[in-house]
Symmetry: C2
Subunit: 541 residues, 2 copies
């Protein structure tokens, strides 16, 4: 760049501000102070009130010595306090570590120690597991209990409770945006099926941009009404607390995702948007249709976490819910691709064709800069033929800073200047990617790659199947062979032969499972099927 | 920030990309290649085609030695070529200088010389003035003619025309995002009523963020159909070429803003959005209502450039057009505030009350970080009382880098860490600002501040008044006194006394103009009334 545009045109406080989602909170307070920001049961907070509570939280934490680079952990359901922590903690410069509420005490303790948490906010529901995690820690954090009066169980831990903490902070407390937009805002541990979880670090710039990307990708407009069916500990609720600040929306909080409560909230608050793994959608589909009474408006649903079976998408659409399938990882602030709709070219397809298209992971979102399916060794893109398998790679501002205190894993994840997702996919002619499996979940039978997801998709179309998962089983002749684990719908009965015959009729015969086991599926705390458990089981058959 | 989150968590190509609106063009090409991006008469280009044409333009310019920090000037109507220049030029790292097409040759020459343009793209309509501007220049730029076959007049200048230039570039030419998001993307000269125009420099980061801010502020969603009634030379069409890339929208180009062509385009292409100064709205309101046949859909209109008279807003709303009033300056990439709607609290007001609220400049847009009305000397915010006058100040990422080769003016504009707008406003209790005048347009009569805009607003409500402007006239007794210049509606007749009486009946008597002159109003090339001309005229009465 020549000197012409470099001289005397520097950054200054008038023309440069670090990007941070905290700016969105301040704007919603300034512009829509009276608009309802958070609803939980009988509780209601406007944006002015939420802002004030967040400032109090920041002030109180600051007074207790929390500042830039400190970690504040939280273990809570989707409560107003959890929402507030997404702003109040970073307002001090500290980093929010939202811990998966379904973890065991040993893992929680690992995370508290690895992340060096100085404060730990604990919802009473998770008091018992937190107590066990904290027991005997050398350098325990300050524990603050969150006492939800609508929840009877659990145990309120800590020296003081959240309300007392807020009372320590002033509503006028001063706070600053981060000095640098690259500073960390959140720490999220992967669920890691083997070994210790890794601590994924997000920065303010990425959180700001991903929050906006959500709003653009979903055309959310102003004042969406968002139902919290997605856990806020999961990639910071995919960054939606910050999206809702950017769009001055309303958060409808829910402690538990039960069909009755979900439908009731949708009807009562005219919910416009919610997110959830396919299992959440399945829960709604399986529910008594009487629960849907009083819902006439369109609801937009974003689903991720696993490829939604085409049947689930079709079922949701019939219920008047528009499903957008998105895809991403903890390392990418949650979803960064979406199955974008191609207007008139797709409008006239049959429902089944539409659902099949929607089951693909799609194209990059607004703020992901690069997406490709490529050879994992050479990083050469695979042909866009819908057949050749490669690994999914991403790059852009909504990719993590790296793994906390793990330079080796960070370097490996970013080798070659792209983030290595570990997911295997094909790239279709229209530029859409379709994830076939995690690298480790692909089944190689007689030298042919078989996608466990493809088999699962067929299984879900069987009318008696409620849930299904397929893994590889070692086979003397073929190397590996598919083994299916199936949960039947309540009241259904079925033999393995019927399932196998159905698969043979609906896909290439060699891909059909040779073993079918009927059981409940073991799941991780985020609702993903624990395939490593099933693999052990399959081997012992 | 502690070391915990600083060590081994650096930027790399996988997790950091400079922000640039060029990324949006690439995404629309990747995701919606077949979607129509540009329409002009019989011409149609998809996003894939526009992308290819922009790459060709960049390749051709690069081959002719244009690169980072070079200036490429353009003088063109709202043509596809003008749209493409917003991408093709910055793809080379060069800076786009879109010159106001209504300027005289001497000013165009000043701009070409001051901005050190190395290439000059000239639409045939402006060939004659460009020829005069270039005549005898010491170091003239390479001149490229844009030959629009649907326009008969003017003169195609230059060594080669735009199509020949594109043919020099390959559709596969390589291009890069800027190495630094702070690098300049555009140069826009202020219309400066006195002295030489100043060159306002925009950077990639600001253009990216302001493009997104437009989409959020207006809830544009995917695939808006945008009609080009706002000149693209005006703050880069307020950054909408980049917004349309971000939203994969369709640009409907228009050489001239005539009511018939506007209504026809709205009906034919189902235009969803357009922008324009109040005079554009006035043109549509005054047009034969038969022209509106065939328009049943809602159209969103953004207006800026002057406070729209309440009567104009009310008239547009009656036509089914939803008006959003926005406000900004060349130095802020165009509008950065909007009169945000306050939902139910405003919905039940009368049309006149709504129009009066909408006439205010409002609150900050999504990506402006700070907005205040303050004392110009101390920068102390004025009380939010709707009465106290102060200057409007802004800060944020959509504030210019500064003025090209003018460090003194840059320092003055940014004194105290805020951008000094030069506009005088009051701050209402609800946080909305209302611009009362440019600093130099306020009338001080008997020690009282009188806003010329307030008087103009009353004048516009008179049924015979088509346009009005008010300036100060020196007065022996009062210091200054208001003098009104009025254009009557076609066929109307009126005496000054009638106008003065109407003003006295509709506002504080001391504010009523004491002189009324009937005439056509002199305007700048961007359609703003030239008050300095009227001030001279008022003094000589």
């Amino acid at each position: 760049m020549s000197d012409l545009y470099q001289a005397n045109l520097d950054q200054n406080p008038a023309n440069y501000t670090p990007l941070s989602p905290l700016s969105f909170l301040r704007r919603s307070r300034d512009v829509y102070p009276e608009h309802v920001a958070v609803i939980y049961g009988d509780r209601r907070y406007t944006w002015a009130e939420v802002y004030q509570r967040c400032v109090r939280l920041a002030g109180a934490l600051g007074a207790r010595g929390i500042g830039p680079g400190d970690t504040v952990a939280v273990m809570a359901a989707n409560l107003p306090e959890m929402f507030e922590a997404h702003f109040g903690v970073p307002m001090t410069g500290a980093v929010l570590n939202a811990i998966n509420i379904r973890l065991d005490a040993a893992t929680v303790r690992f995370i508290l120690e690895h992340g060096e948490a100085r404060v730990f906010l604990v919802d009473r529901e998770f008091g018992p597991v937190a107590r066990e995690a904290l027991d005997g820690m050398d350098d325990p954090p300050l524990v603050v209990g969150i006492d939800d009066p609508t929840f009877a169980g659990g145990e309120v831990l800590g020296e003081l409770d959240y309300d007392a903490l807020l009372a320590e902070g002033s509503a006028d407390a001063d706070w600053q945006l981060p000095a640098d937009e690259w500073h960390a805002i959140a720490l999220n541990y992967t669920s890691g099926t083997t070994g210790n979880p890794k601590g994924v670090v997000y920065h303010h710039r990425g959180a700001y941009l991903n929050a906006v990307s959500n709003a653009l990708t979903w055309s959310m407009g102003e004042h969406p009404v968002y139902l919290w069916t997605l856990p806020m500990f999961h990639c910071n609720g995919w960054c939606f607390p910050w999206t809702l600040a950017a769009t001055a929306g309303t958060s409808v909080c829910l402690r538990q995702v039960r069909a009755e409560a979900v439908f009731q909230a949708i009807a009562e608050h005219r919910v416009s948007h919610f997110c959830g793994a396919p299992i959440v959608l399945n829960t709604l589909l399986s529910a008594d249709s009487a629960l849907r009474a009083g819902i006439a408006h369109e609801v937009k649903v974003m689903t991720a976490g696993a490829a939604p079976p085409a049947a689930v998408i079709a079922g949701m659409e019939k219920m008047g819910m528009r499903v957008t399938h998105v895809y991403g990882l903890t390392e990418t602030y949650g979803p960064v691709t979406l199955c974008a709709w191609q207007g008139r070219r797709w409008d006239d397809l049959t429902e089944d064709q539409k659902a099949a298209l929607k089951a693909r992971q799609g194209v990059r979102g607004h703020m992901l800069e690069g997406l490709m399916v490529a050879d994992p060794e050479t990083l050469t893109p695979v042909p866009q033929d819908g057949v050749t398998l490669g690994e999914v790679f991403m790059r852009g501002n909504n990719v993590m800073k790296g793994y906390l205190k793990n330079p080796a894993a960070t370097a490996e994840a970013f080798a070659g200047g792209w983030f290595h997702s570990g997911d295997l996919a094909v790239w279709h002619e229209d530029g859409y990617i379709q994830v076939k499996d995690r690298s480790k979940d692909i089944i190689i039978s007689g030298g042919e790659n078989i996608s466990s997801i493809e088999i699962e998709d067929v299984l879900y179309r069987h009318p008696k199947v409620q849930e299904a998962a397929v893994v590889a089983k070692t086979d003397a002749k073929w190397g590996e062979t598919p083994c299916a684990f199936v949960t039947l719908r309540p009241g259904s009965q079925c033999e393995a032969e019927e399932i196998i015959a159905f698969c043979r009729d609906n896909m290439a015969r060699f891909k059909a499972p040779r073993f079918v086991v009927f059981c409940d599926l073991p799941k991780t705390s985020t609702g993903k099927v624990q395939k490593y458990v099933l693999r052990d089981q399959a081997e012992s058959l």
